[in-house]
Amino acid sequence: MQPTAPNAGYTLLGPEEATFLEAVVDIMCPADSLTPSGTDCGLAIYIDRQLAGDFGKGGRMYSQGPWIKGKPEQGYQLPMKPAEFFKAGVAVARQAAQSRYGKSFDQLAPADADAFLSDIASGKVVDDRLSLADWFSQLLYPLFQQACFADPVYGGNRDKVFWKMIGYPGLPAFYAQDMVTYRGKPFPGALTPKSILDFS
């Protein structure tokens, strides 16, 4: 098994942004009998690295104007690249928490922080410049799920903790025989998943 990676630093997010994000992933993934806290699982590091790289720069997005608002089904239509949208959303969310509770998001009691995130997700935290609901559903939430379940080579899912939790065996996935032997039965390989790191 790979040793636990040391807590890597942030490359895109500033200290206040990183503190906010760590508080968010610790609410979304609290330390419990299933996994360590989101921060300790590497979730915030994963998100920072993705935003700092090709994804955050919108490397594969069509980015020419004009910029017109459309139906949600026509997809994201802002000139901002994902990394900029993320940071803008963080700034709005931090301000909204401050004005609602009189303290910063990371200082909130877990129940308040959880309720605040729910309000963001359901569109109840309104800002006249930026849709926090879109920010959450289109950017933060997909990144959160990827951070949990992507290969640990990307910095999240530390020690394959989420793969062990659900029983995803990972690599190398040569199942021609297992497919028959374990059809309809628990697969022992699911207890000890392997990642790209184990083969690198």
Partner: protein, 586 residues
């Protein structure tokens, strides 16, 4: 810099499955063939090797094998009166890029279509009367019959080592196969893939209704297989990394594995990667094409490549875009309903629902792209539509292709989006759930078409293709009907929890993957007023131009398109050989 190269006998645009099949006979005959492909050769890349091939994030979520949207995307609107917006990150379907095209990252599902699909209009009118097809639905015959295509189906299945169980051998219905399939002259070249636990559950439920489940015809090789060209497929490892991935075991029938290596051995064949074709040179007076123009991405040069014969063999949108941009043929107009280029654009109508079984081990990671069990009772015109207010249908199946955990992790309705309960539900249900899906027909509508966008351009300065499309009444009603049938099965399957069954409805959602089966735009047919190419795929307005691929489909059925495209591509191979020997209207 602009350069003009010496003329070539035949130039293909697009180095995917179609060029590899349609060039076969020409290359055998010793004809000089050049294929221009915009992307790279994938052979030595991370996408083809372990461990990087098993990277769900890069290939499965970020779709790094699909077209790069920063270079070229499509715009979308719902009626011809709206302004279209660019789809900035497209997810609804996944065109490929590079040698092999979308034939690299497909799932391998390899259906023949029914014996009536090629004469759909005739069939519907014969069965339901002259008013069966409303005027706003230009359903039309294709100008070719299943019987004409059958020998080519046979050849394609042998080339690709397709695995399955025949349901209709020369008119005799076979137990264990699809009783609705068109007559086949012989069994599949290989026996079916292993069934999944989800397939066992669906088969048990189907038996209660008297339905006849059968294994998905698969171009995922269950055993080592050597095809008639002497090319070898490895044995499928059931690794769950087919669609959106390149098979690292070479077990999935793909042009790069089976076809291009054979062509590349011949001195009269050349494939040129990094060549982005921007136009076909057309002489409207002579009604002939003179060659193509492309950007050589390795030098930036604009290259003029003259040719005696040009074959457009790119993805659906590119074929249409090049004809519109090069002003070959009359563009379709949705108001007058005249013109042809861009008409009959169709996606495919799917819907799905999750089912959960506390005491059954689904092990979703034991899968290939085609380890599914299918019911065809409610597909196409396999059932009587008398009294129903729609045409078409769908197959129903357990859509078990992978257990990749970012994307394939069904959760019971009502599960919170995060927190301990979310994690617990993921842990409880990951190995005990799967998705039931319908893949259904999409028949043409006068408002669903392709044109050039007046505003947005690609990275090379050319107009993007504009998609005008939505789910119209017929498809919405069809989806409601087949989704209800799927839900009946789910409810009778002994499931602990049955998720919501959501039929497809508008607005068309560019953010959700549906299928990559987008067809039409340059339909084939016997009537030049309603088709772009003849039944032999020869352009009506240029004798030395042929078009092949999903773009020539006149409608979409509730079947995956690849096997039919394979048959059409091989038939074109014979036609091109005939044409090269004696150029004329075929």
């Amino acid at each position: 810099m602009n350069r003009k190269l010496k003329s070539r006998q035949v130039v293909f645009v697009g180095g995917g499955l179609m060029a590899a099949l349609a060039a076969r006979k020409l290359v055998e005959d010793g004809v000089d063939v050049l294929v221009l492909e915009r992307g790279r050769d994938h052979d030595a890349g991370a996408e083809h090797r372990l461990p990087s091939q098993r990277d769900e994030l890069r290939w499965g979520v970020r779709n790094h094998l699909a077209q790069d949207w920063s270079i070229e995307t499509y715009t979308l609107r719902y009626t011809h009166k709206e302004t279209a917006l660019p789809i900035r990150t497209l997810a609804a379907f996944l065109p490929g890029e590079g040698v092999g095209g979308a034939g690299n990252h497909w799932n391998g599902q390899c259906f023949r279509w029914t014996d009536y699909d090629m004469q759909l209009r005739t069939r519907l009118v014969d069965r339901y009367g002259a008013s069966a097809v409303p005027p706003e639905m230009p359903i039309q015959d294709w100008g070719v019959t299943y019987e004409e295509l059958e020998p080519y189906h046979e050849r394609f299945e042998k080339l690709f080592g397709v695995a399955g169980k025949a349901g209709n051998l020369r008119g005799q219905i076979q137990p264990g196969g699809n009783p609705f399939e068109a007559a086949r002259r012989s069994e599949y070249p290989q026996p079916p893939l292993e069934i999944t636990e989800a397939g066992v559950i669906l088969s048990e439920a189907a038996a209660k209704f008297g339905y006849k489940p059968f294994p998905m015809p698969a171009s995922n090789s269950p055993h080592v297989y050597v095809n008639p060209d002497g090319m070898r497929l490895g044995a499928c490892q059931y690794c769950g990394h087919c669609e959106r991935f390149i098979c690292e075991s070479n077990a999935k029938g793909s042009p790069e594995v089976l076809l291009y290596p054979v062509l590349k051995r011949k001195k009269n064949f050349e494939i040129r990667p990094y060549s982005h074709v921007t136009a076909i040179e057309y002489d409207p007076k002579a009604k002939r094409v003179k060659g193509v123009r492309y950007i050589d991405l390795e030098s930036g040069d604009v290259i003029e490549q003259p040719a005696e014969l040009v074959v457009l063999a790119a993805f659906t949108f590119t074929n249409t875009k090049l004809l519109l941009g090069s002003r070959i043929g009359t563009p379709y107009d949705p108001v007058t309903r005249r013109g042809v280029v861009g008409r009959n654009f169709c996606h495919q109508t799917s819907s799905s629902m999750n089912v959960f079984y506390k005491d059954r081990w689904i092990n979703p990671f034991f899968a290939s792209g085609s380890t599914q069990t299918i019911l065809d009772e409610f597909n196409g015109d396999n059932f009587d539509h008398t009294g129903l207010d729609f045409m078409g249908g769908a197959y129903i199946f357990n859509n078990t292709t992978n257990g990749r955990p970012i994307s394939t992790r069904p959760l019971p309705p009502g599960t919170p989006q995060w927190g301990t309960k979310w994690k617990q539900a993921s842990a409880d249900w990951y190995s005990h759930a799967f998705t039931l899906t319908t893949i259904g027909s999409c028949y043409p509508h006068v408002e669903n078409y392709l044109s050039l966008d007046p505003t947005y351009r690609d990275a090379y300065g050319q107009p993007l293709i504009r998609i005008t499309f939505d789910w119209r009444d017929n498809e919405v009603k069809m989806s409601q009907y087949v989704t209800r049938k799927m839900a009946e099965l789910a409810n009778a399957s002994g499931a602990t929890i049955v998720g919501p069954a959501a039929p497809r409805k508008g607005p068309y959602d560019s953010r959700l993957y549906q299928t990559t089966h987008v067809v039409g735009g340059t339909p084939m047919g016997a009537d030049p007023h309603t088709s772009v190419v003849s039944p032999h795929l020869q352009h009506w307005d240029a004798e030395n131009l042929f078009v092949v691929g999903g773009s020539v489909y006149a409608h979409n059925a509730g079947y995956n398109p690849t096997a039919l495209m394979g048959a059409i591509g091989l038939r074109l191979s014979d036609d091109l050989s005939r044409y090269a020997r004696k150029p004329q209207r075929l």
